[in-house]
């Protein structure tokens, strides 16, 4: 059965109808048509569907859609503004931090959630925050370097 749900995604308030058995990833992709968030394993293993849910990075496949009633959510679509990529997105490009790109939205949202709480994370803190995000093709060094570059840039602010 579909039920109405009210959520704020990327600063925009939505009133949507969604199956009460659906997970948050289905709400985002199929009801709100925000398809930047990718579904990988659907079981909380890979992190491809990472979004920021009330301030915390979570797997969108591990949250029931109805749990999002009243929630504030940020997805990869919140990164670029007015056609300009965000600092993290630019850094991923500069560091060649992706190949197929399927994990990248999740990687960037995990990194964003960390940087929102801790603008100057250490390497270990970055690894801990992103250990739930798997990449099958790039390897992790360039991803780590891309996030470290942003954390480092902010050291000078």
């Amino acid at each position: 059965m579909k039920r109405s749900i009210h959520v704020t995604v990327n600063g925009i308030a939505y009133d949507a109808m969604c199956s009460e058995n659906a997970t948050l990833i289905t709400l985002l992709r199929e009801e709100l048509e925000l398809t930047g968030t990718k579904e990988g394993c659907g079981a909380g293993e890979c992190g491809a569907c990472t979004v920021i849910f009330n301030g915390d990075a979570v797997n969108a496949c591990m949250v029931m859609a109805m749990e999002a009633e009243g929630a504030e959510i940020y997805t990869i679509e919140s990164e670029a503004e007015n056609g300009e990529l965000s600092d993290l997105q630019k850094s991923f490009l500069e560091h060649n931090a992706f190949q197929c790109g399927f994990c990248t939205p999740g990687m960037i949202m995990s990194a964003r959630a960390l940087l929102n709480k801790n603008p100057h994370p250490t390497k270990e803190e970055i690894i801990e925050a992103m250990e739930g995000n798997l990449c099958r093709c790039t390897g992790y060094e360039t991803i780590l370097a891309a996030v470290q570059a942003i954390a480092g840039e902010r050291d000078g602010e």
């Binding site: 059965m1 039920r3 009460e20 058995n21 997970t23 659907g42 079981a43 909380g44 293993e45 992190g47 990472t50 849910f53 915390d56 990075a57 979570v58 797997n59 496949c61 591990m62 949250v63 029931m64 109805m66 749990e67 009633e69 995990s110 801990e128 925050a129 992103m130 250990e131 739930g132 995000n133």
Partner: protein, 280 residues
């Protein structure tokens, strides 16, 4: 597929439980959502308990530490008010899955999932935790040592909601050691919690070495100076309580060897008065 219930008070939750049959409780959902998706479990109603304010309690009281059913493992991991005796809960939380899942997974969920390898459970056992429940029939307090009845089985009735876990004041210090194959996602091959009280009592609890997590108490009391000499006796007592099996993650011989190794590390650390870094 289930109908979604979202009570906003314990009273409302109890009223719903009086009216409805076949309800499953949704805390973090990191196990349950997978089971529902795979249709390994089904239920008529899914009750999200996280909007019940009483279940977010997370504080010290004169009786000890209280952790509500809606408190996530990352809240435990990042809490800055823990007393030394409860820090091993943070050691254990650090080893549970990964940060994304810890932002959802709850302590109560880990306990009620009743996995033989539940990461938070050995630490709770050595700290003398109790599970507080609420059902239309009343409330009860269940010592965690009497909570598990088998693999993924516990003593709760279907309409009985675990609302909080309490830990008595128990000065001392503990450690949680976990062996797994890879960092991040892997389940416990062997988990061992040790606790050395200021009263010099020693207790251990182990995960993934039997059908349920097991509390190994009655080890005895030892001064720090006595611990090295008693080490073999302690190792034998701990190993005697383990009933490991061989499976895809480990052989039973390996599990037993790791259990003895971890116990030895914990005894050495307690004897030396040192903080033992969590291994993985």
């Amino acid at each position: 597929m289930p109908e979604f219930l979202q009570p906003t008070s314990l009273t409302e939750a109890m009223e719903l439980l009086r009216e409805k049959q076949d309800v499953r409780f949704l805390a973090g959902g990191t196990d349950l959502i997978i089971l529902l998706r795979n249709r390994t479990v089904d239920c008529r109603y899914l009750m999200d308990i996280k909007r019940i304010p009483e279940l977010s309690i997370f504080q010290y009281t004169p009786e000890g530490l209280t952790i509500g059913a809606a408190v996530t493992c990352n809240r435990i991991l990042h809490a800055d008010f823990f007393r030394q005796e409860h820090e091993l809960l943070q050691d254990a939380a650090r080893t549970l899955a990964n940060s994304l899942l810890r932002n959802r997974a709850t302590l109560i969920g880990n306990i009620c999932n009743a996995s033989p390898g539940g990461d938070m459970i050995p630490a709770c056992l050595v700290l003398g935790a109790s599970v507080h429940t609420c059902s239309p029939g009343g409330e009860r307090v269940i010592p965690l040592s009497a909570f598990f009845t088998g693999v993924k089985k516990h003593v709760l009735r279907p309409d009985e909601l675990a609302v909080k876990v309490t830990f008595p004041n128990k000065p001392g210090r503990g450690v949680y050691l976990k062996k797994r194959r890879i960092r991040g996602h892997d389940l416990t091959q062997v988990g061992l919690a040790g606790f050395y009280g200021e009263d010099r009592s020693l207790a251990f609890a182990a995960a993934s070495v039997g059908p349920t997590p097991v509390l190994i108490d009655g080890i005895g009391s030892f001064s720090p100076e006595e611990l090295p000499g008693a080490k073999e006796e302690i190792l034998a007592k701990v190993a005697a309580r383990a009933r490991p099996i061989s499976d895809v993650r480990s052989s039973k011989e390996y599990r037993l060897a790791m259990l003895r190794y971890f116990t030895g590390l914990a005894v050495d650390a307690f004897a030396a008065g040192e903080k033992l870094e969590v291994l993985s």
